[in-house]
Symmetry: D2
Subunit: 377 residues, 4 copies
């Protein structure tokens, strides 16, 4: 692991998600740019002190020297955005597979460059767009794909949070500080942090790429340096239209990502507050409550569920589903039986590139007087 | 009543809403442009046949000749949009008060002209934007006004319906036929039929006027003549921003108008599917479930509720609340004690003018290449 | 109307429900045992002062003397329970049809006697068990009857209120005073006031009579004179079992009557908080959200709905549905085409007798050491 | 681990729950009474083959011989009920701590005997009543304890499942087979499998012991050998009353354990379908939606939550919370700093004894003609 010191949120999530299904063991880490903190973290996690490193460079170098059956097989990168590209690139070049928190990197340029590193090295890169890991999101995708909804006409995705309603970054909140700092987050605040999740989810379930965006991106809190609020009109490749909302100043909201997709024969609705349910609404028939863990779901939903119906799974399980799928690819790679990357159901470097392009398109559209901005790729 | 023949939806709603609280009696009507149908309707409703008229002109003329204590006092106009202006104007000029279904008229020009008739005659005009009649919408407005939410930053309003997902107007559906016919509905389809409700609700609760719109207005069903789908980015007078969705092709959706308003201290959320509840979400405190009929609500919510908590009221009661408030103004007018029109809590001709302007602004914005269109007034 | 003075809750409900569909006009009343109050109420309601009476006896006598086409046709009795029997009996004997609030009367003996009066006079009596008037309760009954649920195995009905959690009757609350007073309410407090609703609903939807009860009936507030809390195990005629909860001390609850019926092939669930929805849960298939006003419902649900899907109806509309059905029977009676009373879908004197028997059975079971008490009829 | 072969449900749950927080490693197991199956399971789990045992006796013996820092520290027992007592007793006697799936053992006698073994050996035993591990259940307990609800008056707990609506045990369903077999499950079917969870939850949150039960216990499916359905009236030690429902034939239901506790000042409501929410309903004030991961919760809720508000946790996390607390006690035991067992917030042998007594009391009450049966301890 790179990053994920003791007080970090997402590092701990990665560790728990990786541990859940017993496929990954945490064997080494460079948990902080401060060696002392890295050591302390490694110690608390019960690691062999010899494999707690002062820097990721040292880690990649040292681990690469270990015998093949002893060295780490893959690395989780869970640092702030501006420290994604470099460790990812080096890790891939040293022959390690990479699983990395979103957004992929700091800028679209970095994203494109990382994509070539992935292609050149032939190593694997997974991106933790958590929400696509939920079983009922798999089901939503399967329902769309089945044609039950008819031609897709509308995609509504919204991601309202409220935690940045006040200038938390001025009050020593660590999460708020780096996420509103353009030198660490990149060109996007809310649009990078949660907008990329929303866009990725919309494209994943609908099976359609966004082609044009008309965005309204705002800083609503005085002296904040990055956007904390955004909304956009969307056009998709089949001419469907949609709306995306990604805001961190909807005071009182937690983290309720919600997706609705409508075709001319029906719609589906999923909300993060009730993640084990998918509403399927066929036109002029009763809506159906599809539930995780039941016997009537698609193979894809079923294989991403651990428990029978009525035993709620949550965020960590969705996260873990990405690790499980990544594990399959790592094993296939090791066995020489790697399939096309698109055969694996985890977000990859291409999703990462689209995410960075989404941020750039939102920013460009917001600055433009023109209504529609073509998706920048 | 003008319009509201036996098979009409909204005419029956007006009759029931007016009857509910025992303040209005239906005494006469011109229920259809076809005299036979008007007679049949009047008969079914148990009216005195002498007061069932062949045309609204005849009705106004005849009723005006009756002694003051016998003639009708107010008229409900429940015809399609293109037959709003003329009967409203004549009624007002004959000295009758008017309650009229939304949208106010066929065009912004008609709206402005009708406004002058209202001003010149001094008679009353109420517009049935039903949703503002709900007690928990009154409460939402009261919460915003109280300052509990702080400065308003975001307004999300959405009105998804699915009934026009298929070309119903080609299959003899009467409602679909006139609502998708520009010669009867005016410049707007979905934007006039439900978009005006959404915009009115957003402005009513937030207490803020929309100043700029960036709209995406679509016809999604082949050969349809008017828009069946729309979404817009909004700017409000205090620089708050928002999103409006008004679509009739969200297949599987019924009529779930939903409003969310956020300030920097909290938010409120109301949805038509659960109209007796208002969620109030103070920042960093537990959300509260405010319920109609309880003892802790604002005076405005309480006076628009008939039943104790836990006894659901619905659409007809909200509708009736507009009639009740209109009744007060009619009585005050008759008693010579009429207050400023803004003292009465029912939608009036100004709301109607703004509604028509909203339609025109949506249409203009949709045609424009520019992102923002100033609200046309 | 008998009873229903200005400050009464249920009298106003009856008036609004009767008015809603335009079939009943309020023409006369004895609104209070205090003549002054009766006059004041009649005046406020705009009645002809000559037909506002000092007592119900006077009213029945006077109205009976009026020409047939002028006199009242039916009477609503909305007094406390101890003043149900006498006016109902006299009214029926004078030839008036009666619609009466629940519970039917003060005691099982009175109930049985009133039943003979109904039979002897051949006049109509309807009982306002409101909740059976909801369209989705009609649908629930239709689903059970269709056999879709298989053999009925379990019936859960619960009616939690919280308003009597404190000794309100000591604080001048009028509703609390008579409802906790055995000389006005009869043998049952909560069991009479809301338990009878719950039992009636369970039997109505399941189509099964309760045969045995094992009850726990409590007074939880010190010095209260009647039960404020109860629960019971139930046996039904087909050997199904169930649970009934009727309490008025579930602090914080409003009025959320809830019914669940399960057979071996599926279940249905309805709750008063969301009355326009019925959940239908087929075994091992997705649950379905059945909604009022849609095209796929039973005839019975449809004919008890006024509005299209997504336009909520509530308590007054459910109440009005009983009036509408009663109206049909009154008209048929007047036309000499009266059918069997069971052909009309409103609660009648037999439901009233069962209600009183339910109260007596609950009381008897509570006093008994034995587990099961046979339903007393 | 004892039990938990590859196709077992609850064994896998224990493994994932133990792994989640990185405190337990699975080092050895006797996964089945069939040595081949045990080997296969151990292999699939990546265990050292030398520590995959043919029987639990062999495991305890062999592990006890390993050096202290190499041998297992605690054992999870996840076999059917009839194979709980023996491995638990032996493990404790060999000096291992035990975490065991509910119900504790096969009979009340075994439970009492196991309790003395725990006391005699001084080793730890935890029982996985999962539902008490949920953070919002901790919060419910804290709200009750705080006195905010006043004196507790009513406790409603229900656990409806539908999966045994048909004779699955005749169709080769493994779960159904042993759970409906008295030689494997003990005296209770549904009452043991889920009734014990419900009773435990009610007592845990209310802080009150059940003192009397009046039960209706049924076999609703022909030729089934154990109860599949039950309901009971309850009395608690402070004279509060309640209702318990535990049924596996509510066709269409999944696993929706629900608890409501009311005092004279308010109530709380929790449901397994939405486990991260606790409704707190103060009398005559707005209900509050308390949410896991927020800043306003009790210490107990907070320390049982891993993620910020809006990131759902589920069944595995609740399960893991028991492991985490058990881990603390194991560490304290090893460090010689063990506190009173009641200082640790996990279900222990006393809960297990009460669970077995609950089953016996339900069975006795069902057979009895008397209404109330004293809780058998």
């Amino acid at each position: 692991m790179v990053g994920g010191g003791l007080d970090a949120f997402i590092g701990d999530v990665h560790r728990k998600a990786a541990a859940l299904d017993g496929q990954f063991d945490l064997v080494c880490g460079a948990f902080s740019s401060k060696p002392e903190k890295s050591k302390k973290t490694g110690n608390a996690l019960g690691l062999n002190p010899a494999r707690v490193y002062d820097s990721y460079k040292e880690m990649f170098e040292s681990e690469a020297k270990l015998p093949e059956n002893e060295r780490m097989e893959a690395v989780s990168i869970v640092t702030p955005n501006h420290v994604h590209f470099d460790p990812a690139k080096i890790a891939l070049e040293y022959g390690f597979h990479v699983i990395i928190d979103k957004p992929l990197v700091f800028s679209l340029d970095e994203a494109k460059e990382l994509k070539s590193v992935v292609e050149q090295t032939g190593n694997l890169l997974a991106l933790t767009h958590t929400y696509t890991g939920y079983p009922m999101i798999k089901e939503a995708k399967a329902v769309v794909k089945s044609g039950k909804l008819g031609d897709i006409k509308k995609v509504f995705v919204e991601y309202p949070q409220g935690w940045l309603s006040t200038p938390l970054e001025k009050e020593g909140n660590k999460q708020a500080s780096w996420r509103t700092d353009p030198s660490k987050s990149g060109a996007g605040g809310a649009i990078g942090d949660i907008g990329t999740h929303a866009a990725n989810l919309a494209e994943y379930v609908s099976g359609l790429n966004i082609t044009h965006i008309c965005a309204d991106v705002n800083i609503t809190v005085e002296n904040r340096m990055l956007d904390d609020d955004s909304a956009a009109l969307l056009k998709f490749e089949n001419n469907a239209s949609g709306v995306l909302i990604a805001t961190q100043v909807a005071a009182g909201e937690e983290n309720d990502l919600k997706l609705r997709v409508y075709g001319d024969k029906g719609g589906v609705e999923w909300t993060h507050t009730d993640p084990n349910t998918l509403l399927y609404k066929p036109l002029e028939e009763p809506a159906q409550i599809l539930r995780a863990g039941t016997g009537y779901l698609s193979e894809s939903a079923t294989s991403n569920t651990r428990l029978p119906a009525g035993h709620p799974e949550g965020y960590l399980e969705a996260f873990a589903n990405i690790y499980v799928e990544f594990y399959k690819a790592v094993k296939d790679h090791q066995n020489g039986s790697l399939k096309e990357i698109t055969e694996y159901d985890f977000p990859n470097v291409d999703d990462g590139v689209r995410g960075m392009a989404f941020v750039d398109t939102m920013v460009a559209s917001n600055k433009s007087d023109k209504k529609w901005t073509k998706f920048i790729l």
